[in-house]
Symmetry: C2
């Protein structure tokens, strides 16, 4: 009989409890095992991934959730909608891993091959699963869609699998047990995959890690802003002198360089102490550039500083067209400090809505220190916020001149004490420039707000 | 002696020329080969990918560029910064592919293992490459950074490789020839990887495909908006009846369902005809939902319709906080039709800057048909644009009520003939809701603009 596994909410607290239990087991265990950590691999199925039509954001989400539990992600593999290639990859991954997570190929259309491939691979057969069909019908009813035969097919599921309920879509996940390894197959739609991972797969993996009492691996991230990778590496110095078996990775992005420290061992507390020791060492050498020791983004930290100072902010954006506002409002609760802004893409709007003087635009141009200052100050005054920030630049590919090449950006800042603008030269790619401009605006805000504390 | 390969610009025209030459060769070739298509695999190296700290957008960019040339991407594999695992993956990929593209692990810090691993793998040794050092120095000079020993190390390169110049960063790419297979190693920084791919690797792969005279695979994408995947599948009907050896994939996203048709064969022109035949069949059944037969995004199509109609647009955004403006301005040349907007996150800004009446906000709330209509109409009048569009909703996680749950969104539209607002129920996840709201606003604009043609 097909089993049924479902848990509607899986709290962060429970994950932490499991980690604590595991740490307790660990602290009384002294057997060192060669194959120490619980190993997870990720298999993504779909032509759309292989030909690059979509970015594989599922793999990174899964990897990051599983890593948080203390497991080790060995590899991500993406294959086409091809049964032989999928089976070959599955065999390779089952060989090296304790748990394989498959996403994709479970939808209602003919190119979804995962279910038939798994039935064949595990020498299984399909049977009608009533609860899953009820779930499909309820889902369609809510959306006032008439069920079709295609929808009914979804409820035919492999006999030997544990069905993992999908509470946000129609196709359920499936969990197989094969030679002591776990294999979970989930839909490729991100919200459905995440829902089933959270309610079913992560708790199972946490439990497996706990029972297998294997080695734990812990990571800590130090996020920096306003310093290039090579200079940061110079400041930190020779890693062999202080890592002591731990690892340190430099992860550069448009929003700063992240430093990821990794430590593995049998004892949870000792690993934590080692992480702290390495963190202190790095902070001694480059502490001024570190804005967070969590995965919290710079915009979230800036938001916390605004909330802490009981200050509000408004934005005036030209080349970024709303990207900075979108970044602020990506954070839940940002209405506490972010009140709004003006997207002043054309000069007419800069004049009419923001009140930038026509003379400033004529004399210095839209991309200039003077315009950036007026934009920042005027949006602050017109929106009655404590801080105004502005971005105006030449994103490209057109619009560059010898004096102001593509990538020239001015970022303005205004509060009740000062108004200023800084100049940046960001590069040639339009959307990279826009992202970098947002990153630099946040860096400027972070520095100004840190002084206020 | 280390060879040096560099080409500053690689035009789209040249790619097409190569495809045409290849098609000509193909049309006089009648040998059917079992191993027909030129096979490419992608290997990404880095802990940051494996533990899910960053999304592997490089792999999709590479896959899509290589697919455009007519090659077939077999698989993407990501491994950790671990020499043994990288070598194992490399062996597997060289076995099944004609060309392997490696990214990541070429930076200036200690965790960058790709160069030493390749030197060992190919039984090679490092030698100082003067031109590459000149490039490093020029790069640092431009940024007023003093060179360090770490920077000099970058110019020590494997003797047997062809050096691929990096014109936007310091670490060059490397091309190896091994048992008739090509292996290229590129930096992981997206702009550097893209630059070297475009100037060196893509032309080489195009040339290889031409010389090997293997089978061609062509794809065509039909993009739909405003129809769910399962209903689209019903409309299109049984694919076995019309595919005739071709393939059809359904790729759902927040911005609509893409249909990807694939056809392979020896003759370029025949493949194109088959693609056209399948396209016509689908259009007969679901043509009203198809907004593009290219990879062009919906916002680009909406922009073209605005430009064609010589109309301008302004936006008024609440819950999306600038995301719709950012989407419009992601398109180069959008200043032709997009003039700006107001991010009216707080009610005070909705009143003061947009002129939404306090009574409307009191009587109906900020998330209501009435507020959405006033936002759209007022932004149009105040910005003097032809069209105004507004988004106001409850993105979540907080702020939902029984009457207006999280995911409730109103989208307003106003032109000189009509003002209206439509209601959407989008779901539970904050950032998914915001993305879906932008997608629906574009869908609404597309429908309104299509009528005007």
């Amino acid at each position: 009989m097909t089993k049924y596994c479902h848990k509607d909410k899986y709290s962060h607290f429970e994950v932490i409890s499991l980690l604590i239990i595991r740490a307790a087991i660990r602290s009384i265990s002294f057997t060192i095992n060669e194959e120490k950590m619980y190993k997870v691999s990720i298999l993504t199925v779909g032509d759309e991934i292989c030909i690059g039509q979509i970015v594989n954001s599922n793999a990174s989400w899964i990897a990051s959730s599983v890593t948080t539990l203390g497991a080790e992600v060995l590899t991500h593999v993406s294959v086409r909608d091809n049964a032989a290639e999928m089976k070959q990859a599955l065999t390779n991954l089952i060989n090296i891993s304790d748990f394989v997570i498959i996403t994709g190929g479970l939808g209602p259309t003919h190119d979804d091959i995962t279910k038939p491939v798994l039935v064949e691979y595990f020498n299984d057969e399909l049977e009608f699963h009533n609860e899953s069909y009820e779930n499909v019908l309820a889902f369609l009813r809510q959306r006032k869609i008439e069920p079709t035969e295609r929808n009914r097919q979804i409820a035919f599921l492999p006999k030997t699998c544990t069905v993992l309920r999908n509470s946000v879509g129609t196709a359920p996940g499936m969990l197989f047990n094969f030679a002591g390894k776990g294999i979970a197959a989930l839909p490729g739609v991100p919200s459905e995959m995440k829902s089933i991972m959270t309610s079913s797969v992560l708790p199972i993996i946490a439990q497996n890690i706990k029972l297998s009492a294997q080695e734990v691996v812990l990571y800590k991230t130090l996020q920096t802003t306003g310093i290039p990778e090579s200079i940061l590496a110079e400041k930190i110095g020779d890693v062999n002198e202080f890592l002591n078996g731990g690892s340190l990775a430099f992860l550069p992005s448009y929003k700063g360089v992240r430093l990821r420290i990794g430590v593995s061992g049998l004892d949870f507390d000792n690993c934590r102490k080692e992480l702290d020791r390495i963190e202190r060492h790095i902070k001694d050498r480059a502490g001024e550039y570190i804005f967070a020791v969590t995965e919290k983004s710079l915009v979230a930290i800036v938001g916390e500083l605004l909330a802490f100072n009981k200050m509000t902010i408004a934005v005036a954006e030209s080349c970024t067209g709303g990207l900075l506002g979108a970044e602020f409002t990506s954070i839940a609760g940002s209405s506490e400090y972010f009140i709004g802004g003006v997207i002043a893409y054309s000069n007419a709007i800069k004049e009419r809505i923001l009140g930038v003087s026509p003379k400033t635009l004529d004399d210095f141009g839209a991309v200039s220190e003077e315009t950036a200052r007026e934009m920042a100050e005027n949006v602050r005054l017109r929106f009655a916020s404590d801080i105004g920030v502005s971005i105006t630049g030449i994103a490209g590919p057109g619009g560059g001149t010898e004096e102001k090449p593509v990538g020239t950006v001015w970022i303005g800042y205004s509060d009740n004490e000062q108004t200023l603008a800084l100049n940046y030269n960001l590069g040639n790619d339009r959307n990279t420039n826009r992202e970098k401009a947002v990153g630099n605006a946040l860096d400027l805000l972070y520095k100004k707000l840190k002084i206020k504390q």
